[in-house]
């Protein structure tokens, strides 16, 4: 008997779900969006972490890296004898200008030696095509796959490199990837540039001969046994290599490529934690509002069920099932969508990063979190609403709901009310009668706007970074680098080159900056006092002058070293005579990118006991003569680096577009779904609550449009109310997001800049979403069954 009744209830459940399918789908969609975002972000992060770890492991990526000017190979035994050292690899590694037929822009490459005929012991190559270089063939080269693809280079093609001031033609015998070059980044570049910077692996003998490095090396990497403290290894290496022009050993953690990978992962992790959390919370809030009102409209059915003898618990369970079904529909769809998008985004990362493998095995955690959060929020909302409805005696719940009590206004308010027509008055009274409900609905709209603002914010942030970096800080058109420091006479020579308008010197040295127990290993930039091209630029204060003697640090670096203006820092230069000096922090400036330290170039040269010397030159050029200049530069053997700003800029944008924007795209789409879901539900519920009044108006001779006006008017008022709140909320969410750890990496600090255009677009999107759902409402209003609505009891 009882089971028969329960079955009937379940049929009612299915029928109700079908009847409310529009709302079921739109609530499900909001939930699915949150869950999908969570699964996508977390699983992408996991997959990238697992994949990069596996990649590093399988291809024996080194744990410690060190460079020197020129060190003898016999050091290897001493290095191997260091505690914990497992495997060592001594190489020759050089920067060179490359030339590919038909490509006029400057190209650079990193030449790295490998043993002939076999894989190196560490930092092995993932051979994608061809073979390794063979002994006795000094002109054979393996190039990194992305560079080969970017230029359409095939096996057997040749590529020219200026090696030790000689042009050499090298024949490509293989393409490869390597765990130490996941990110292939040239000096000066903010972002990897597949087209203009390549890695060339040459045979050890060929490199020895070309650079006259017989029995010597300038690059070292090693692995250590598990549990070894690499800090001690690094210290020992620094001591051992310092007579040979060491620039300081670094841990894998600080190795450029991996550092970028880790930054990327950290950012991914941060967004995986924060964005879906925000999204799920907003989605949860919406689900709560919608379900609460949905259940209130079921009031008389709840009364009926209680009259039949169902207990409050049974009634509660019935509606809980209703919510579970809706939520699980959303959750399952979100799982599938999230897993699919996660795979897609991991895949796109893997392709961008040239990872040779992809391990996409999302752990159940993200799936479970998504489901648990969504379900508990849904059930909580339901429990509150159902228990409220079930608490009414059945006869009260079943009898027509008393008309809700409205109150008249007095004074000015009444005068204002008198100026309104009746439909408008209905709207106003409706809102003021249930201010909390109206506010909650408005907050829902605001939440949708806020999510849009947050998703659009990323573009603003990147634009702002690009603007300050390329527009204010790095104002030169081209940066030139030399393999060895040059006398400043070179400046005059460069100024004489075709198209060069002005040139400024710059010197960059490796340093350890030490303050008490804190240490930062990085670079120190020496620039001239009146520098106009490469400036120190504070994102709030504008250009910062180069002080006479002291250091200028980015605020990130000052934080890391815990120093303030006026404090002393021990500067240990890791090049040349390796001088150590205490310098005062003269200024600290805010920047979005990197951890930079600046010093007057004359002071730097004096420290190094060099006369006026420069290693890099920033130049502004006449665009019309750029081609001519580039041809000229290719023939200057001393120049090892040519970096065009225009190229760097477009590359920055492109890289951002390829990585970040995939995510932002999905995020925006989800935010749109949220906006539509909220407005559709708000109006659909308003319709079910107000259907009777609307039908009455239609009977009294009001047109469809009048009825629609009352229905949508309320929404529009709330939407208008939501616009400023949403923008403010968007700003707040963004601020929370930006300041949450993980997004302030050493590479980049996200600026809290939201353009009016982003606010505008978010607003427009919500308006479109509400207009779209308004159109859906029009169909309902047109189909209002006047007779049945009026003849049935409320």
């Amino acid at each position: 008997m009882v089971s028969g009744m329960i079955k009937a209830l379940d049929i009612k459940l299915l029928r109700d779900l079908w009847r409310l399918k529009g709302q079921v789908i739109s609530i499900g969609f909001v939930i699915a969006s949150g869950v999908a975002l969570l699964v996508m972000s977390l699983s992408t992060y996991e997959a990238l972490r697992i994949t990069s770890d596996a990649y590093y492991d399988r291809y024996r990526y080194g744990h410690v890296f060190a460079g020197a000017k020129r060190a003898p190979l016999h050091l290897e035994d001493r290095i191997r004898a260091l505690e914990g050292v497992q495997t060592t690899q001594l190489r020759i590694s050089m920067q060179a200008v490359l030339d590919i037929d038909g490509f006029t822009e400057p190209l650079m490459g990193r030449l790295v030696s490998i043993p002939e005929g076999r894989q190196p012991d560490l930092n092995q190559l993932v051979l994608r095509r061809g073979r390794l270089v063979e002994p006795g063939r000094p002109n054979e080269v393996i190039i990194n796959e992305s560079f080969a693809n970017a230029h359409g280079l095939k096996l057997g093609d040749t590529i020219q490199a200026i090696i030790n001031n000689n042009k050499r033609r090298l024949r490509i015998v293989g393409t490869a990837q390597s765990p130490e070059f996941i990110y292939v980044i040239s000096p000066f570049a903010l972002m990897p540039d597949k087209k203009r910077y390549g890695v060339l692996w040459l045979g050890r003998k060929a490199m020895e001969a070309a650079y006259d490095y017989d029995g010597a090396f300038n690059d070292l990497s090693l692995t250590v046994l598990r549990g070894t403290d690499t800090r001690q290894t690094i210290q020992a290496l620094d001591a051992m290599l310092s007579p040979y022009g060491s620039v300081g050993a670094i841990d894998r953690r600080d190795h450029l490529s991996n550092w970028f990978v880790q930054n990327e992962l950290t950012q991914n992790q941060a967004s995986a934690r924060i964005l879906p959390t925000i999204f799920l919370l907003v989605a949860a809030f919406l689900t709560n509002t919608v379900l609460t009102r949905l259940i209130i409209t079921e009031r008389s059915e709840i009364g009926l069920m209680k009259a039949f003898g169902y207990s409050s618990r049974e009634v509660g369970w019935h509606y809980a099932k209703f919510v579970i079904v809706i939520t699980m529909l959303g959750v399952v769809f979100g799982w599938a969508l999230g897993a699919m998008l996660g795979h897609l985004s991991t895949d796109s990362y893997a392709r961008n990063l040239n990872l040779p493998m992809l391990i996409y095995r999302p752990s159940p955690l993200s799936f479970v979190i998504g489901a648990v959060v969504s379900l508990s929020v849904g059930l909580l909302a339901t429990a509150r609403a159902v228990s409220k409805a079930a608490a009414l005696p059945p006869i009260v719940a079943m009898s027509p709901q008393e008309p809700p009590m409205f109150h008249g206004n007095s004074g000015v308010v009444q005068e204002l009310m008198d100026t309104l027509d009746e439909p408008t008055r209905i709207i106003v009274r409706q809102i003021t009668r249930w201010p909390f409900r109206a506010f909650a609905t408005a907050l829902g709209f605001a939440g949708a706007i806020a999510m849009m603002v947050l998703s659009l914010y990323f573009t603003d942030a990147v634009d702002e970074i690009s603007r300050t970096h390329f527009g204010e800080l790095q104002r030169e058109d081209v940066a030139l680098g030399f393999n060895d420091p040059q006398s400043s006479v070179v400046l005059t020579e460069i100024e004489r080159l075709p198209g060069v308008l002005s040139a400024e010197p710059m010197r960059v040295v490796s340093v350890d900056l030490v303050s008490r127990h804190l240490k930062h290993r990085g670079t120190l930039h020496g620039i001239s006092k009146g520098a106009k091209l490469t400036r120190i630029y504070d994102v709030r204060r504008g250009p910062v002058p180069v002080p006479a003697g002291g250091l200028v640090l980015t605020s990130r670096l000052a934080e890391k070293l815990d120093v303030r203006v006026g404090d002393q820092i021990e500067v240990r230069i890791l090049e040349g005579r390796r001088p150590i000096e205490n310098l005062t922090v003269a200024d600290i400036y805010d920047s979005y990118i990197g951890m930079f330290a600046y010093l007057d170039i004359d002071v730097l040269n004096r420290m190094l006991k060099d006369r006026s010397v420069t290693q890099y030159v920033s130049a502004s050029i006449d665009e019309l003569q750029q081609e001519e200049l580039l041809v000229e530069l290719k023939n200057l053997p001393a120049v090892s680096t040519v970096a065009l700003k225009s190229v760097a800029m477009s590359n920055f944008d492109q890289t951002i577009a390829e990585t970040m924007m995939i995510f932002v795209g999905f995020f925006s789409a989800f935010s749109f779904a949220l906006g539509f879901g909220v407005t559709y539900n708000a109006q659909r519920i308003a319709l079910s609550e107000r259907g009777r009044e609307l039908a009455t108006l239609r009977v009294l001779g009001f047109s469809h449009r009048d009825a629609l006006y009352i229905l949508l008017g309320e929404t529009m008022v709330l939407v208008c109310l939501a616009l400023p709140i949403g923008c403010l909320l968007g700003w707040l969410l963004t601020a929370v997001f930006v300041n949450a750890g993980g997004f302030q990496t050493e590479l980049m600090r996200l600026p809290l800049v939201i353009t009016p255009a982003s606010y505008g677009l978010a607003i427009v999107v919500l308006l479109i979403a509400s207009a779209a759902s308004g159109l859906a409402m029009k169909r309902w209003v047109d189909r209002l069954d006047l007779i049945s609505v009026l003849k049935t009891r409320e």
Binding site: P403, F406, G408, E422, L700, I787, L790
Partner: protein, 244 residues
């Protein structure tokens, strides 16, 4: 015969239904709610439609009021065929000429009595002042009350005031006293009677309650979707003398 026809001509038909048939299709079942009904309603007269549930009373009233359309047949309002018009025209017909009163009052909870009436007068062509309309139904003192502050009978009288404030040509009442006790019901019927007398509105009332028949000019009996018989009352008894 001749006398009868002269009398009919003198009293012009406000509303004339010819051959009304309404068939509802519910799945595979056809329900014939009305079968070939002819009916004329004359200016200023008050009629009552009596009949058991399912006899077609409401269907007939809804079609006459432009809420529903017949499957076959025509309804002429002042010689215009309203069944041949579209939804916009029907909306206009309801707006300008028809007043409805239902068993459930269907007042807008967020508007006061006066404002509920103003809802209609704002869009009508030749409306009464809302307060005057409320005075006719005896609610002159309660114009600024919200529905929640009024009793059931008072709410129904606001609904009547709202229906007649536009000075409709026809007032259609579907079970206006169905939800009320007899004392309150009589007050409501008195209000309808006043409206019919003072404004000369053609009035049709659906009821289960045959006692109501005494206050009208004609009593129309329906059964199985057809008009079974029409009785004419020689005299109308005042509503206050009715009792049930």
């Amino acid at each position: 015969m001749a006398i009868l026809s002269r009398e009919t001509e003198a009293k012009a038909a406000t509303l004339r239904a010819k051959g009304l048939t309404k068939i509802y299709r519910a799945g595979e079942v056809e329900v014939r709610a009305l079968s070939d009904v002819d009916l004329d309603l004359y200016a200023s007269e008050m009629v009552v439609l009596l009949g058991p549930s399912g006899s077609g009373k409401s269907t007939l009233l809804n079609i006459l009021g432009g809420l529903d359309t017949p499957t076959h047949g025509q309804v002429f309002f002042q010689d215009q065929d309203i069944t041949a018009t579209d939804d916009t025209m029907l909306t206009g017909y309801r707006k300008d000429y028809v007043g409805f009163v239902f068993q459930f009052y269907n007042l807008i909870a967020s508007l006061t009595a006066r404002e509920n009436v103003a809802l209609v007068t704002e869009i009508a062509q030749n409306p009464l002042d809302p307060v005057d309309a409320l005075k006719i139904v005896g609610l002159g003192e309660r114009v600024d009350h919200f529905p929640a502050q009024l009793s059931g009978g008072e709410q129904q009288r606001v609904a009547i005031a709202r229906a007649i404030a536009k000075q409709p040509a026809i007032l259609l009442c579907d079970e206006p006293t169905g939800a009320l006790d007899s004392k309150t019901g009589i007050i409501v019927l008195e209000a309808i009677e006043t409206v019919n007398r003072e404004l000369g509105t053609t009035t049709a009332i659906i009821t289960h309650n045959s006692v109501t028949a005494g206050m009208t000019d004609r009593v129309i009996y329906l059964g199985d979707g057809r008009i079974v018989r029409i009785d004419k009352n020689r005299t109308r008894s005042p509503a206050r003398e009715l009792a049930w």
